[in-house]
């Protein structure tokens, strides 16, 4: 059975009220969603809260989900809208930078310097560009899927990804 079929079965079961099925959906999607939200909002603590809230909203709105649509795109769309709302409400630039550094894992100095440069470059990108990069470069979303998640035209997403990529590479000292 393919992953898409498994997801469809899990969604059907979750719609029928199965907590076990919903729990499997959370387990399958939490890693990618949390990574996307961390990169989009830049604040790890906030991203964790948003990820949890995203799943809870998804659970409450499960009956509105179109089974023919992509569950992942629908879920990430909810997350992105929550992220937009949270960032509009509270721009925690300092806290974000601090948290970003505190949560850094063990890495070599060169990696650390590159990571910091990348983080800085990411935080300098406009939010929709950052989210496009987080989905298509850092994640494994296609441009079409990202366009669905972010409610942006396909061409805009492609240009966001290209521009974002160029800026990140420049920040790492590379050239096209």
């Amino acid at each position: 059975m393919s992953l898409a079929d498994q997801t469809k079965d899990l969604i059907q079961a979750a719609l029928g009220g199965s907590d076990q099925a919903f729990s499997r959906l959370v387990e399958t999607n939490q890693g990618a969603l949390r990574a996307f939200l961390r990169r989009s909002c830049g604040d790890w603590g906030l991203a964790e809260d948003l990820a949890q809230e995203t799943f809870l909203l998804a659970w409450e709105r499960m009956d509105r989900f179109d089974p023919q649509a992509s569950f992942r795109a629908w879920l990430f769309g909810i997350g992105y809208r929550l992220c937009l709302a949270a960032l509009r409400k509270d721009r925690r630039a300092k806290a974000r930078d601090r948290a970003w550094l505190e949560t850094r894992g063990a890495a070599s100095e060169a990696d650390l310097a590159d990571r910091m440069a990348l983080d800085q470059a990411m935080s300098d990108l406009p939010l929709d560009q950052r989210a496009s990069v987080a989905l298509c470069l850092a994640g494994d979303f296609s441009h079409a899927e990202a366009s669905e998640v972010l409610s942006l035209p396909l061409g805009t997403v492609k240009s966001h990804v290209a521009r974002g990529r160029a800026k990140l590479i420049e920040a790492l000292g590379g050239k096209e």
Partner: protein, 102 residues
């Protein structure tokens, strides 16, 4: 894919959350259970209110009939309760259910 794209992928992969995170899943499911509980309580409160309002409205019309029925059924209900109790007390399964069987 250029060398810089590879470098980007490696750097992005460094802050990936773990694929499996039982604690996160448990926290989400705990909150789901809490919200379901509150939702159920709200539904029950609403249902109770609706049924109470309905009873208050129709009681003047059905009240006398219900009272007559209760008076008529009281002896039968009493006899039935006694018979059922005796049946339970004298059967092995009944005794074991009550924890009286040795």
């Amino acid at each position: 894919m250029t060398e810089m794209d590879d470098r980007l992928s490696v750097l992005f992969a460094m802050d990936e959350p773990r694929v499996s995170s039982p604690r996160f899943v448990a926290e989400v499911m705990e909150e789901v259970a809490r919200r379901r509980f509150y939702r159920d309580v709200q539904t029950l409160c609403l249902l109770t209110f609706v049924v109470s309002a309905l009873l208050v409205t129709v009681w003047p019309f059905i009240g006398p009939g219900v009272e007559t029925l209760i008076h008529a059924l009281t002896p039968a209900v009493f006899a039935g309760s006694v018979a059922l109790s005796l049946l339970v007390l004298t059967s092995r399964r009944g005794l074991s259910l009550l924890g009286l069987e040795t």
